[in-house]
């Protein structure tokens, strides 16, 4: 409260001084509209501040004067000499009371009424009472005790900025001097004098920095009144606890936080804390509790607002978000609790079922977060439905001095605010792996996948290079990404100034700064880069289980998609090389199979049903590292972790089986089947020759031979002219051709054990491994 009061006193006194001339002029010419307006503005301001600061006496006086002057302004009253004196008397009285406030004295009460009464009189009947009152005031100023010397003054911020700039100049000059002294080499005395100068400059810099600081109390002191009025209006009983008002913060910063904080408190009262009867029914004390606290942690100020109201139900937020079209059902299903809560920061989402007069007037939590992020802060939310809600605002100490890390790529330096940095990592080893997924660079850091933005490439400084260092950044809203840089330099406190509009418009810079080396540098806007580089919020860090974990438990990242037949299916993400849209007319159909030209090569296109009658087709490009195939889909839904075990499909086909994901059975594609039916291993002259004994058997010709061919064997049938060495003979019923020295693989027609070495003819794996064994053994 002290700070506010001091401000008020200083402001009132300053205006009074400026007003003195106006008052005299108005007295001389009461019809002067401009003077009247100036005086009206003054009493109006005083009245406003008094209501706020709880100064009833000043409030009554200024209110009466304002009413009276309003009548004059609207022409309902003619300002006569008596009225002018009465108004002047009140203004004098305001001055006296202000002085008394500062000196911490109380003026005798009772006389105020006379002054007010003097105003209220009819314009044309100067009563004796009025005379008396006027007389009295005329005496009073003389009786005023000598005013205590004020220790508080108001300064324009501009002047402070100039002082700051002056000191910065001095620091630079000092640095230059220091360099010169080092090169020329001087006597001890010069060094000592220089040291002293350095110290003074440093101290002065600190002092000027501190002039911008004020206690956060200035922000908190308005809250008790607001909470009282609001809770009365809403029919709620709330106990407010305020803590940490002595924390110091940049004055400008305090102004920037004022609106967001007010909004949060309004929300807590309106939507958070329940009505007494509701609270009673829920077994909570009837009086709601609202706690607001501030504390300094490192170079940030943490402001926490917590209440014991009904909290926010993440699932309800999600339902709203889905109906508002902010997220899809599939995305919502994959969201963690904290992601769900984060949705309240999305534009256009208010959890209030109905708009009340108190909150929900179009300014949502999205604006709160935007405001806080604009000053380099973050907002976090914790909710315990039925128990309460806690919002944590983290803001930097000051707008102008930011602890920052300098990084560079190709010799160009940039600064990154420390508050946005999570960690620095070097892409090396198993813990930090750089990979490309669908053309985009990603990094796995201890199992977490993050998108990578390469600073050099982003800024157009270099072509794609493997970044040597990664700075993991928080872009706000829990979203993280890694910024690839070439080198990391210093950690320093930088004086940051807003950059020119043309630079700020790019959205990727937060300001300019001038480090001690006199080379201007830009401060990066971490959230802006995320937006510009399209590091979407959907690309949420995907958990990849550590490699050491047992396979059975491993969560496999799976891409979920809606297939052409409308069924939700999944495919292991690691197989998906990219998702792309192709022109449907580029699909070629030959011999009953669809082929798609991808990168100048015809690739087999699988589809579960007929291709849609649209122009574009969305395909998943799957790759096993060597071979590629395309799979036509309707649309991609999400990427989820599937931990459940696969229930294998009884028949071989494109579907490997079914897994349960969050209670829903999801069919998984069988990459093995897909690849075996897409890849024709080019059988060349060096391929092992496989002789099929059953030359007349249609099964051998139609089923076995293509399988062997696909597996990379040359196939020959018994009885055909053949000069090459046979590597292996396959037979079902036919006799083994004589005169050929090669191992024999026998197939049988039934799955039951036959007691010999024969292989069931549909046991593809068994057959192929037997072939491999024999071919390898024969060499």
């Amino acid at each position: 409260m002290d700070d506010l009061l001091t401000d008020f006193i200083a402001e009132t006194r300053e205006t009074l001084e400026a007003l003195a001339g106006e008052i005299v002029a108005w007295e001389a010419d009461p019809a002067d509209k401009a003077r009247l307006d100036a005086i009206f503005r003054f009493v109006h301001t005083v009245k406003g501040s008094c209501g706020f600061l709880d100064l009833p006496r000043l409030g009554n006086l200024s209110h009466a004067a304002e009413d009276c002057l309003a009548e004059v302004r609207s022409g309902n009253r003619i300002p006569d000499a008596a009225l002018v004196s009465a108004v002047l008397a009140i203004i004098d009285r305001i001055g006296e009371l202000t002085d008394a406030l500062e000196a911490n004295e109380t003026l005798p009460e009772g006389e105020d009424e006379f002054l007010i009464a003097a105003l209220a009189k009819g314009g044309n009947a100067p009563a004796p009472v009025e005379e008396a009152a006027v007389a009295k005031i005329n005496v009073l100023p003389a009786a005023t005790p000598t005013r205590a010397v004020s220790r508080s003054i108001r300064l324009p911020v501009e002047l402070l900025d100039r002082m700051m700039a002056g000191v910065s100049d001095m620091v630079l000059a000092r640095n230059e001097l220091s360099r010169l002294l080092r090169t020329t080499g001087n006597g001890n005395a010069t060094d000592v004098a220089f040291e002293r100068l350095s110290l003074c400059v440093g101290e002065m810099r600190d002092a000027i920095t501190r002039t911008r600081m004020a206690r956060i109390e200035a922000l908190f002191s308005a809250l008790p009144r607001m909470v009282r009025d609001l809770s009365a209006e809403l029919g709620k009983t709330v106990r407010l606890e305020v803590d940490g008002g002595d924390v110091e913060l940049d004055r400008e910063m305090i102004e920037m936080i004022r609106d967001p904080l007010t909004h949060i408190v309004r929300n807590a009262l309106d939507h958070g804390i329940e009505k007494p009867e509701e609270r009673k029914a829920a077994g909570k004390p009837e009086i709601g509790r609202l706690r607001i606290g501030a504390r300094q942690s490192a170079n940030q100020i943490l402001i926490e607002v917590s209440d014991d109201g009904r909290g926010i139900d993440g699932d309800r937020v999600v339902r709203k978000a889905i109906s508002a079209g902010v997220v899809t059902t599939e995305q919502a299903a994959a969201m963690s609790w904290s992601r769900k809560l984060d949705l309240i920061f999305e534009p256009g989402l208010s959890t209030a079922e109905q708009v009340t007069g108190v909150s929900g007037r179009g300014v949502g939590m999205d604006v709160v977060r935007a405001n806080i992020e604009r000053i380099g802060g973050t907002v976090d939310i914790e909710s315990n439905p039925g128990q309460g809600l806690r919002l944590s605002l983290r803001v930097p100490l000051t707008l102008t001095i930011i602890p920052a890390l300098t990084v560079s790529t190709k010799g160009t330096l940039f600064a990154i605010p420390r508050s946005a940095i999570d960690e620095l990592v070097r892409p090396k080893g198993d813990q930090v792996r750089l990979e490309r997924i669908g053309g985009e660079q990603v990094v796995f850091i201890r199992g977490k996948r993050l998108p990578v933005v390469d600073l050099g490439r982003f800024m157009g400084l270099t072509d794609a290079v493997e970044p040597s260092l990664l700075v993991v950044l928080r872009a706000g809203g829990g979203e993280r990404y890694a910024l690839g840089v070439e080198a990391v330099h210093d950690h320093e406190e930088l004086v940051v100034k807003p950059a020119a509009p043309a630079l700020m418009a790019s959205g990727i810079y937060a300001g300019t700064t001038l480090p001690d080396n006199s080379r201007p540098m830009l401060l990066l806007d971490v959230a802006g880069i995320a937006a510009a580089a399209n590091v979407g919020r959907d690309q949420e860090a995907i958990e990849e289980e550590p490699v050491e974990q047992k396979k059975a438990k491993a969560a496999l990242p799976t891409l979920m998609f809606r297939d052409l037949d409308g069924v939700m299916r999944g495919v292991r993400l690691s197989l998906v090389e990219r998702i792309e849209d192709v022109a449907i007319e580029s699909v070629v159909e030959t011999g009953g199979v669809q082929m798609l030209p991808l990168q100048d090569k015809l690739t087999r296109l699988h589809s579960v049903s007929a291709l849609p009658a649209s122009e574009r087709l969305r395909v998943l490009r799957l790759s096993d590292g060597q071979n590629a195939l395309a799979y036509a889909i309707d649309q991609v839904a999400d990427v989820v972790d599937v931990r459940a075990e696969l229930a294998p499909s009884p028949v071989a086909g494109p579907i490997a089986g079914v897994v349960l994901h969050e209670g829903n059975p999801i069919e998984l594609l069988d990459p093995f089947w897909l690849f075996t039916h897409s890849v024709t291993m080019p059988a060349n002259d060096d391929s092992p020759l496989c002789l099929v004994a059953d030359a007349e058997d249609p099964w051998a010709r139609e089923v076995l031979a293509p399988l062997l061919g696909a597996a990379g064997y040359r196939v020959a049938f018994a009885g055909e002219p053949n000069n090459d060495r046979v590597s292996v003979i396959v037979t079902t019923a036919a006799a083994i051709p004589e005169g050929i020295d090669a191992p024999v693989v026998r197939l049988r027609g039934t799955p039951d054990q036959a007691g010999d070495e024969s292989i069931y003819r549909y046991d593809r794996d068994g057959l192929l491994s037997a072939l491999r064994r024999h071919v390898a053994g024969g060499k």
């Binding site: 160009t412 982003f458 080379r519």
Partner: protein, 142 residues
């Protein structure tokens, strides 16, 4: 009578109102700024002030300035920010009367920035509005 600074931009002699000019400096090291409009040449530190360097030629859509040759800059303040306008050369500061209206036939790139003409002896010199130079080329109409 008012004071005008006479400079050359793209070989054209132009005048700038001296009241809007802070100083004239030699610009040595310009720190590049990626991903910003082309007329922003970079940043330059004048003591503890960071100036945004404007390539006047690019700003007037006359091509890009020859960075190696043009290192003289006119410092102007605009909306609370300091800018260094790169010019070929600063010739003079002269006193002249109130500007006349622009000649009717001006190339389009100059028409946008021209505020009128002032007279130096017999010669008519184009008066340039620094604010237009700072703002840069107009975005193409969508």
């Amino acid at each position: 009578m008012a004071l005008y600074l006479i400079a050359r931009i793209d070989q054209e002699v132009v005048a700038l109102p001296a009241t809007e000019i802070g100083s004239v400096v030699e610009v040595d090291q310009i720190a590049a700024v990626p991903r910003v409009p082309g007329h922003v040449a970079g940043l330059f530190a004048l003591r503890s002030r960071v100036l945004t360097v404007i390539d006047t030629r690019a700003s007037l859509e006359l091509g890009a300035i020859d960075r190696a040759a043009a290192m003289t800059a006119v410092i102007v303040e605009h909306e609370g920010h300091s800018y260094a306008l790169l010019v070929d050369e600063v010739e003079d500061v002269i006193e002249a009367g109130a500007p006349d209206s622009c000649p009717a036939l001006l190339p389009p790139s100059w028409r946008r920035a021209a505020k009128g003409t002032i007279r130096r002896g017999e010669e008519a010199i184009l008066l340039i509005d620094p604010a237009v130079v700072v703002a840069g080329p107009e975005p193409l109409a969508a």
